[in-house]
């Protein structure tokens, strides 16, 4: 089988999209999962594979502002898209308020669901900056966590809504 890492491997396509604010050209097979292409070609390994079938949300990324499971997106679908991954959430020096709250209030334990969970929370807060707990629960329903029982994740997000209470 040809190696898709070669720029002109037969059967591969070039897809142009913006990833974390940078213009990228991704070359891969059209049905390659966005998850694999981002991890392997752009080394964005903050995106995790937990189940490979869209159940766990560990591979969550933002696609044109919407949270999606990147394990279910073939790269042929992302031509011209704007993609944000966990790597695009913090600036070089400054964590996002949600990331800071996850550290302060115990929102992360083993950390494997955390990138997807943080992205889901950031995505929620950008649409609704003061969600209620039921709204938070609904927004995270596609992101599974086996460690925390979710309580400290809810608390982290609620605290993140009130910046003054988040300690650094």
């Amino acid at each position: 089988m040809p190696d898709a890492r070669l720029p002109d491997a037969p059967g591969t396509i070039a897809v142009h999209c913006r990833v974390n604010g940078r213009q990228e050209t991704l070359r891969d097979y059209p049905m390659a999962r966005l998850l694999d292409t981002l991890r392997e070609k752009l080394h964005l390994t903050g995106i995790k594979e937990g189940c490979g079938e869209g159940e766990c949300g560990a591979c969550s990324v933002e696609l044109n502002g919407k949270l999606v499971n990147s394990c279910l997106i073939p790269i042929a679908q992302v031509e011209g898209a704007e993609i944000r991954t966990i790597e695009g959430v913090a600036t070089k020096e400054q964590l996002n308020i949600v990331q800071q709250a996850f550290i302060s209030y115990g929102g992360a334990q083993c950390g494997i669901c955390t990138p997807g969970m943080v992205l889901a929370a950031v995505n929620l807060l950008e649409q609704n900056n003061h969600p209620t707990e039921p709204e938070i629960r609904a927004a995270l329903a596609g992101n599974l966590c086996r460690c925390t029982g979710y309580m400290k994740i809810f608390e982290s997000i609620l605290r993140a809504c009130d910046r003054t209470e988040v300690q650094s």
């Binding site: 089988m1 190696d3 991890r39 964005l44 390994t45 903050g46 995106i47 995790k48 594979e49 937990g50 189940c51 490979g52 079938e53 159940e55 766990c56 560990a58 991954t85 966990i86 790597e87 959430v89 913090a90 964590l95 990331q99 800071q100 996850f102 550290i103 302060s104 209030y105 115990g106 929102g107 992360a108 334990q109 083993c110 950390g111 494997i112 669901c113 955390t114 990138p115 943080v118 938070i136 629960r137 609904a138 995270l140 329903a141 992101n143 599974l144 966590c145 086996r146 460690c147 925390t148 029982g149 979710y150 309580m151 400290k152 994740i153 809810f154």
Partner: protein, 746 residues
């Protein structure tokens, strides 16, 4: 004054890497020129391997192929006994048993090739139930299918039946449960005869993997190196099985001369790796009419699967916890773990105790009912007190007052008022409400003389700059090892949290502080860290480089001076058992654990009798675990454990067919989501334990023990239906409710 660091919720050490996605898990690490390994497994439960066919559509010359013949040392996963092969050679004993390993640089082609290998097996009769195993329908393990049996005897059970006012019997079952860490298992290996074998991976117990690799390669210990990478959850599931994957990756690396990575996908992880042991418990209990326990006769059976693995130890913990925190003069426990042709069951948080505690706490509600006492009053009359003896003959020396713990839990949950209100309102409601609880204990650390046998070691080092480093094989897998070790060392040395660094578990660098299991990391290894840290301070003071009272600056100066005038500064601490602790492994009597966690959990449920949906509406968890080192981490342990317990009780059903899990996907094996959980309200009672670091005991497993029985007790309170088997799915509830209705009509 320095800020006290024990009891403070300092932020998780590796928190920043985790929230930014920078933390590197096994699949995130790539070596140049590496190959991807896959595993070809047995399609059936039991049989003789006749032939292995390689479909010619695959370019096999590009592949590295490993079978049992390629193993340079002993073909076994060395653990308690050497019965489990690393690769099946002649026979298979369970579905999905590994037989052939393949590696290729293209992971997609490797997967295609896996499906192009056909293994012909002449089937042999297999057994899939504990009953068939006990009846020796087929003998699949030595002479009687019994991996291990245990007996606990206190008093004279048979003499008590005659004087009993009531005798209550019951049988209870728990199903297999998948650990379902969100990061599937994975390993990377390099291996060659000159440099030996090195593996990096997702694992709980570096020295278990180390021991297994040493046997498989026939190499001396110093030729094996095991490094833990960031581990995305374990819960026991990465206790023993990583040895298997490490061996497979290393065998492929050995033969190919290239680094090999094996990452299981979710389906393979669920179908092939260990789960919680299914259990069946029979209780026969004698009580007086005023509700005093006279005798408990307990029969406890676990399904161990096809190989022994850790089953005897799981049986041990389940057996010792089977009689709970109660004072009963006569107790008999007979237990055994049996062989079946299922994949071996293994470690899962709680390790046998959630199974036997479920049975006991369900049963005691039945006993209370038989003597017309409220469940809380019945327990109050029988709780163990200081100075009394547990079933194994251990005298309780802790200052625990279970009645007080119970009272606090009942108040926090508004138990009495709710019980009254639900009893009033339920008869006219389609959605019935109920409230129930469980009271229980969980021993921390290895059982009996286990810790003495392990003789764990931890080191603390101070650099010339006054940086303090902790060296231990205890792994961080989300529970907070890095953070609490840092807090303990900082407290012992009077330094800041930021001054402490916990080193990566790497067997070339860290001593063997034992496996990261059994709620032992904080209490046992934390104590070693504390002692070693004090050793650093004492070394500095012995040389008069440091005064009795000092500040951080003085500590840094003293470290510099020590390095200049004496040399490297490192202190070692080795476990020594507390005085006056005795355990008789033969009689199964004595001090089973150095200390226990004690708890009362209250669950409130709603049961929709039209849709058969059960929801946990509120949950109160009150526990005594000694001094709490980090309240946010400790509460996080309880909340996460309760969530897993809710899954164990209501959702997580492994469906078996001919010994194989057939719902091995997150789509049809259902764990709790953010929509499913009630508020989990966690409260600590703190009685400092003198032999724990800063007074702490263990906590990790405790929450799995009491959650499920509290929920099922609440369901009985809501519906009057006695559920004896978990998980209780809506289908099970429907069957039970329909049976009751039919009975009422008849």
């Amino acid at each position: 004054m320095r800020h006290p660091i024990i009891g403070e919720s300092v932020p998780r050490k590796e928190g920043r890497e985790k929230v930014t996605g920078k933390a590197l898990y096994t699949d995130d690490v790539t070596f140049p020129n590496s190959l991807y390994g896959v595993t070809v497994r047995s399609p059936i439960a039991r049989g003789k391997i006749r032939a292995i066919h390689f479909n010619p559509t695959i370019p096999w010359h590009e592949f590295v192929v490993v079978t049992a013949k390629d193993i340079p040392g002993k073909n076994c996963i060395a653990l308690l006994e050497d019965d489990q092969p690393c690769l099946a050679a002649d026979v298979v004993n369970h579905p999905e048993e590994p037989i052939v390993l393949l590696a290729h640089k293209d992971k997609y082609l490797a997967e295609e090739a896996r499906r192009a290998v056909r293994i012909d097996i002449d089937p042999l009769p297999a057994i899939f139930t504990m009953e068939d195993s006990l009846a020796c329908k087929e003998v699949i393990w030595r002479k009687d299918n019994i991996f291990k049996s245990l007996s606990v005897d206190k008093g004279e059970v048979d003499a008590a039946w005659a004087s009993a006012d009531k005798i209550v019997e019951g049988e209870y079952e728990t199903g297999a449960q998948e650990q379902l860490y969100i990061e599937p298992q994975g390993m990377i290996a390099t291996a060659n005869p000159s440099e030996g074998v090195t593996v990096w991976g997702s694992l709980q117990c570096p020295y278990y993997v180390h021991k297994a690799l040493s046997a498989i390669f026939g190499l001396p210990k110093e030729k094996i190196r095991v490094v833990q990478l960031e581990t995305g959850g374990g819960f026991g599931g990465k206790e023993e099985y990583p040895s298997m994957i490490a061996a497979h990756a290393a065998l492929l690396a050995w033969k190919s001369g290239k680094p090999v990575k094996i990452i299981y996908d979710r389906a393979e992880d669920m179908v092939a790796t260990t789960k919680r042991h299914p259990s069946r418990t029979r209780h026969r209990t004698a009580v007086t009419r005023d509700g005093k326990l006279l005798a408990m006769d307990i029969d406890f059976t676990l399904d161990g699967g096809a190989y022994l693995t850790l089953s005897p130890v799981v049986l041990s913990r389940g057996t010792i916890h089977a009689a709970g925190p109660y004072n009963c003069p006569n107790v008999r426990i007979r237990s055994r773990v049996v062989a079946t042709n299922m994949p071996p069951h293994g470690a899962f948080r709680g390790f046998g105790a959630p199974q036997s505690v479920f049975a006991l706490e369900r049963h005691l509600d039945q006993v209370a009912k038989a003597v017309a006492l409220a469940p809380d009053e019945f327990r109050r009359r029988n709780f163990i007190r200081k100075g009394q003896t547990l079933a194994v003959g251990q005298v309780v020396h802790e200052e625990i007052d279970m009645s007080e713990l119970l009272e606090r839990a009942l108040k926090l949950s508004d138990y009495r008022a709710k019980r009254d209100r639900f009893a009033r309102e339920n008869p006219t409601q389609t959605i019935k409400r109920g409230i129930g609880f469980a009271s229980f204990l969980h021993g921390a650390g290895f059982t009996g003389s286990g810790e003495e046998y392990l003789a764990s070691v931890a080191d603390v080092e101070a650099t010339p700059e006054g940086r303090v480093r902790v060296y231990a094989a205890s792994t961080e897998m989300g529970q907070g090892t890095n953070t609490i070790f840092s807090q303990i060392a900082a407290d012992a040395l009077g330094l800041d949290y930021a001054d402490i660094e916990v080193m990566q578990p790497d067997t070339a660098q860290v001593p063997n502080s034992g496996p990261t299991v059994a709620s032992r990391t904080c209490m046992i290894v934390g104590k070693l860290v504390e002692t070693a840290a004090i050793g650093i301070k004492e070394s500095l003071q012995r040389h008069n480089f440091l005064q009795e009272r000092y500040d951080r600056q003085a500590f840094v100066a003293a470290c510099r001076r020590y390095h200049d005038e004496v040399g490297p500064l490192r202190a070692t601490s080795r476990y020594s058992p507390p005085p006056n602790i005795h355990w008789d492994e033969h009689l199964y009597r004595g001090d089973a654990y150095g200390a226990y966690g004690w708890a009362v959990y209250v669950a409130e449920v709603s049961v929709d009798t039209a849709t058969y949906e059960t929801r946990v509406e509120d949950f109160v968890a009150v526990q005594e675990v000694g001094r709490v080192i980090n309240p946010v981490l400790a509460a996080g342990q309880v909340e996460g454990g309760v969530a897993q317990g809710i899954g164990f009780a209501l959702y997580e059903k492994v469906v078996w067919q001919e010994g194989r899990m057939i719902n091995n996907q997150m789509t049809n094996y259902i764990m709790p989501t953010s929509m499913d959980l009630p508020p989990i309200r966690v409260h600590f009672e703190e009685l400092p334990y003198t032999r724990g670091p800063a007074g702490a005991k263990g906590i990790g497993e405790l929450p799995l023990d009491g959650t499920a029985p509290a929920i099922i007790n609440a369901i009985e309170n809501a519906t009057g239906i006695c559920i004896r088997r978990i998980p209780m799915t809506p289908e099970d509830l429907m069957a039970a409710l329909d049976a009751t209705r039919e009975k009422a009509i008849a």
